[in-house]
Symmetry: C2
Subunit: 117 residues, 2 copies
DNA sequence: CAGCATCCTAACTGATACTG
DNA sequence: CAGTATCAGTTAGGATGCTG
């Protein structure tokens, strides 16, 4: 029986614990579609995220090296976010998942309704 | 500015709320690698999942139509799980994500260490 | 063997108020 | 504008005991 992931140091769990939270992938997709964005622009694009969660999400993605954060010494302050090369290298893979979701969403919904009983 | 997901009915959020939990993708990858498996075999393959969460995860995946559940009328009982066609269609996309994780894990770890300060 | 029911904790998330 | 701090609610997840 194949069991190719030890419980520690498992890349599947690791990447998913980051991308699988409520907002990370949405932020990545947004930055990928729009390029460089200011904090408030990201917030407008994802209207129902709280300011706190947007900050937390952006900082986590930055810590992983998926996005970069550039602060301008201006008043009022300006902060710009964009994908790094590492982040960009991930996007085609994410896109494939999103495409699959779009394609098969109807089918999944149909299944769920049947299972509700 | 591109904003291609309404807050409701967003396929990205939907697919991720399912695949992005702690165990779903791990179960899918396990079934994909081993084919048909009994409950206890899945449990052995993913040693540190609790029985409860394994049950919950399997039922959710079944409800979405990604795996099938076949109960044999035997004593002791036997239940076999395997990917459906829908589930199998998802696996190549998941695999690309896993491959990316394996490739870039080192880089991500390096970033995290720097950011801890 | 393959589960379900119950209880419990910790983590995630949101609302609100405040600041450089 | 782009945050931080605090508080409170919700939910994911784990431990345990029991059953067909």
């Amino acid at each position: 029986m194949e069991n190719f992931y030890t419980n520690d140091n498992c890349p599947i769990r690791d990447v998913l614990s980051r991308l699988g939270d409520k907002w990370s992938m949405l932020v990545l997709v947004t930055l990928n579609a729009n390029g460089t964005m200011r904090f408030c622009d990201v917030h407008k694009a994802i209207a129902d995220i709280s300011q706190r969660m947007l900050t937390v999400t952006l900082r986590t993605l930055e810590a992983d090296g998926l996005i970069s954060r550039k602060v301008y010494a201006e008043v009022p302050p300006r902060v710009e976010y964009r994908l790094t090369e590492l982040g960009e290298s991930l996007m085609p893979r994410v896109q494939m998942l999103v495409d699959w979701a779009l394609e098969h969403m109807g089918e999944i919904m149909k299944h769920r309704e049947v299972m509700v009983k």
